[in-house]
Symmetry: D3
Subunit: 289 residues, 6 copies
């Protein structure tokens, strides 16, 4: 694992330490990620999209949970595939970065699809370790690397990345600091893709349900407007924006039937339903020098 910064520089605030501790300690909450990842070895830490096959709820009860797990995992992988679809033309000589890479699910998918160099960045030393182990096991360690670094200050050289994405990790950081760093890292014309939950400014302010999610994960969900303001301030220009809310609601409804349900399903479904929360994908180009 590269060590561009000492640990004290990776985790500078009490808040960052608390987030790292949460994911390092692999809490009960993360069980859903683990169980689903075991399906095919792609460990995600994001949610799913698409029309679920509801027939998994029927049939023999003793294998229902297993069928449910596979279906939820399929929807999460579909989400990651959609994200990768928006990165543009990526070749084997390009370099991509996964901001908040967790145990590397989306990173491995990108490497498999494009054959490119992949750098995953996470403030969980534990997860970076697991992901690097898996890279070795997959024989991909020459191209896929995970770094115990803060995505706000990666230490990578300027202008080297052809693409960067964040898959449900922006709610842990300040967007202006984040996009300044991403803008620095991207080549001119490079692409950034972001999938995130965001509070919907149209509702008026952060609803109680959204705060409930924040309290649950110790995160700081941003309003939709904040993404566009912080991009405008950092030479990132949207080229595609898609509201994935209707595509993710069925995933959450299905998850209520799973024994892996954690209770967080309720504020998700409430806030999506009342219009105070949205599941958004933004693809943006880095412009200027």
């Amino acid at each position: 694992m590269t060590a561009l910064h000492p640990e004290t520089d990776v985790l500078r605030t009490e808040y960052q330490k608390s987030v790292a501790a949460y994911w390092n300690n692999n809490p009960n909450d993360a069980r859903v990620n683990t169980v689903l990842g075991e399906v095919d070895g792609l460990y995600h830490h994001h949610y799913g999209i698409g029309a679920p096959d509801l027939s998994v709820l029927e049939g023999p009860e003793d294998t229902r949970q297993e069928r449910l797990v596979k279906e939820l995992h399929r929807l999460e992988t579909a989400q990651a595939d959609l994200l990768l679809d928006h990165l543009g033309d990526i070749g084997p000589d390009d370099r991509l970065m996964d901001g908040g890479s967790g145990r590397g699910g989306t990173s491995f998918m990108a490497n498999q699809r494009f054959g490119c160099r992949m750098d995953g960045v996470t403030i969980s030393e534990y997860q970076a370790g697991l992901a690097n182990d898996q890279a070795r096991d997959r024989g991909a360690a020459d191209k896929v690397r995970f770094h115990f670094e803060n995505m706000l200050d990666t230490g990578f050289e300027s202008g080297v990345m052809r693409g960067i994405w964040t898959n449900e990790t922006t709610m842990y950081v300040d967007l202006y600091e984040l996009f300044a760093e991403f803008s620095r890292l991207l080549k001119p014309g490079g692409r950034y893709v972001c999938i995130t939950g965001c509070s919907n400014d149209v509702f008026g302010a952060r609803s109680a349900s959204v705060s409930w999610i924040d309290a649950r994960y110790g995160c700081n969900i941003h309003p939709r407007s904040e993404y566009f303001k912080a991009m405008a301030a950092n030479n990132l220009v949207p080229v595609s924006v898609t509201d994935l809310t209707p595509d993710t609601i069925p995933y959450w409804e299905l998850r209520t039937h799973s024994e892996l349900a954690t209770g967080v399903e309720e504020p998700f479904l409430t806030s999506y339903g009342e219009g105070s929360f949205q599941y958004l994908m933004i693809a943006a180009d880095k412009v200027g020098r």
Copy 2:
């Protein structure tokens, strides 16, 4: 025709006068709009999208141009339909505004679809007159009105519009001034939809081909980034962004076969092809008070 402002206030600069004169004088350039509008009485001043029926190029030569005209018109109407699809739920009691309404094509389509009140605004007194005549002929004059006003300063009350759109008219105005006015006019949560050609910042700067289009129409095509900066500065938050470039190129290719072709097809196809120009649709919500 309402007269909220005297003419001297509608056309304040030499530039605005030159734009108004261009459209008032119904020049040869506008012939394509006229001929296509005669197909079904919906006069557009924008371009088309979608897969063309190329079979219109085949068959008897004496009716080929007629078939071509119908097909081009169908594609332009499809474009306007897509725009209207993004306005959200509009009911008969809502009020919509068409910024730069020309001879009213999209305005009439909106009124037919939603049954709502429609205000079209144009700095061409001639076009406003034609459109109001047509509203009377259609028996829609109680709900559909066209105003000889500047969309930068409409004179309408604040917070009255449920939706506003501009269909290829933003290249004639300053976007910060425009979006300030639109933000003032929209209700909280109101929707703005914009279809426009924009220069692609990724190219580096405005290409010669894009300047050729500017010179041809006396317009000022903005870079894509300018739209998002001006929205961020005026409480307009994107919810959907679509790059329509691949959908409009076939329209332009078809148009080269028409006797209505004006020569402008070449810089359009060149700039789309080299990546210096884009055909973009943005839907955004008005947030804040």
Copy 3:
């Protein structure tokens, strides 16, 4: 009750409606405000400061809760007194505004102390009604009025207020919009005093405990930095800033002994203790024309 705006303009967003509903419905949560207010008719909706008389916890058990209630009420009144101390020289001809006046506790205290004209503003029509009733009962209705208005857009004339305060109400609104309105309302040299809970930027971001409070009250606690940025942007210049956190912790500790405790005591004490939350008082002057 004056009616400068129709109700639809007072409550423009779903969020504002939800806040108004919360306080209109006088929920169980508000019981603590009611019981404490009954002590002397000053109904507060804020918390207390100062050294508590811990002897109230001792002595006969049957009157302990009564003693506790009186002591908590004394501390809340002490807080309001401190706020009023920072308004500067106010005379009988001056006019003050209470932004988010609830049932009027602090407003009545100000009128009694300065003899000045008082305007309370609240988006709870129910509370405005109760407070106006009390003004009549106290024979103060000529000078003390409560308005069912949004403090973001009061409808009052510009430059008429000698002082404005908010006592734990800023977490329900956007600070930039709020301070723009306050800056408009204040005379040159007028004073604004704010007591509020704020998240401490030094912690790094909003902690889970602070989000728990947000979820509980349906509010949006701002970071400390936001107050100073929004003031700087609106011609409000601090002249006194005091961290009241050490002064309010004993109040919360005492409240855990009360049968009125609602459970919210725990996240308050946790967040104050870990340094992620602060209880702050800012006095600022309106400068410029």
Copy 4:
């Protein structure tokens, strides 16, 4: 030739490559520069000012074009002289930079006048080569150097330049990026002088004639306001601003009589005449650290 950056960093965008190609390929358009430069070896790529000697149009026809060429060249040299007049006191130990130096005409004039060190910067590798050859031939290669570099990112040390100018080259770059670099390069109190064509905001927007010039040269003429905004944002404070429009119109009129006329004379004369275009000189001081 110094090589602070690899070529891929000098030309980062498609647009920059197209501009470099234009000047590298020495197109027909550049013939006027070449022929005029042959008069005395000072190759300019800008236009002229001052009262022309119209008698050159009279007399023997066979030498008229020769007389015209000399007169046009005299006016262009007069323009460069005026620019140099505004650099302030420059001594032999000072260092000057020519942003967009072409084949070095103004750079050689500055070196001759002040005896100072001169760095010319151009993205045309071809022109940098020609100019360095000439420096060697003139025996000035120790003091006058031309660099194949982008003036947006020269690679020179901070705070080393006593003066910088651009002579009709700013229409190829973003002014904010340019002035940030110039502000970095200049010593405190250093002087920047800019001669440029700019669109006149008073007209209302970029006129068709100005777009025609943009299309012709593949450039991006900025509005006058943009110069002052970008300077204000980058610690460059004007000390002298002169509208040279009336001084350059006779040059253009004279040029219409030359066989070197390229057709671009017409949009220049139209736009100057209608007030949509201006020929401006700005001298500004670098302030702050």
Copy 5:
């Protein structure tokens, strides 16, 4: 005298009251203005430019002071004439405003030159009275009016002025507030001309000599940079900037010989000499709507 605002609105701060008192009380300091004004009835409150006729210092001693007074007055009138030269084409139907008009010297000159309507604005009720009396005496009261108003908030309608100037009065106000008001008052394309002393940012900060001038007049001399920043923020775009410092130094040297010298000559000459102070003229156009 029109009374758009009550006096309490014209003079809102203690500072404004102190400035008004200074000029109302016609202090000894103002004697120089009075004596020079008696030469021909044009009362100035600004300084002079141009080459003085030094022969006035020679010849009979008993009339030397008289000759000096006439010469100083001639130089001050020359300054006002230069200012008026930069207003552009003004016709009899145009309307001009003099911001800080004092006893009207420059206003009367403008009316005589252009035949236009003139509005002078001053916060000295005394001076406004004197100037209106003179307008009556000159038979110009129908076209030339002086208002006891604050130039930061004149109360005039928007977009009515063809030109505005300030002649050494901007050091009493905030430039951002001033230019916001001027931008509001000017027609699109209208012209603002400013002559002012400003501190020279190149020096590094306000020198002791400049502060001495501030202390002497109770004014707030701005740095040069502030003028350009405040214009850039308010749609005022410079078209001509001239450093008049070399043209005004001889005036000050001559004044040291006058018995009207007040001692302020020394800090003026020191600061001009050391480069910490400049005498600047800016002409700028109002752009945008």
Copy 6:
């Protein structure tokens, strides 16, 4: 003495050279600092706070001045103590910086209180020398160092300081430049404490008395608002603001009785009395990365 920068980089402008010369030449004005410092070897260059012991004015006349000197020194030391009280928890391993350290009075007090490493920065080479001599004499040279550096550009590494203060030195520099440097130097969560005289925006503008002080010291007193704007722009968030004006007036009154009085007492007392000047303490936290 460390020499991170050559002298030409420490003193870049004429203004900075004039300030350095003032303090290097140890002028008569500085006599008060010297005499008071001799009391106990702590040389201050700031003023005092607190209730004076007025009995020093009574008693034997021959020792009255001596008693006065001691009392004034006591009040100045009390001021420095109050400043140090606001730095938060500082341990022996922390590093503090004194911006404008003069002859080191407050720096030595901090080292004595916290045992921490101390870096004093001053543009007076003379004072840095004296202070380093004293550090050696006190046996503290390993921990306390004084640098001939400009506090706008110290050359120290980023993020190393636990605390920084300025004690009446900010009136010599631009606050935006200063706070950018301080923000760079401070660790996340580090504290900045500022004691300063500032002009009171509520007065309306800088009064003549405040300009008199500026002229006297060659400084540039900032308005109060400027401090908060520059902090907001540089990630410095106030946590405590105190108006020390009432606490410093008695010091100034006492000083009028001293033979060390320099005449500056009068504008201080006038401006404090009329409300145009304030003595302010701000403690702020560095936030963000």
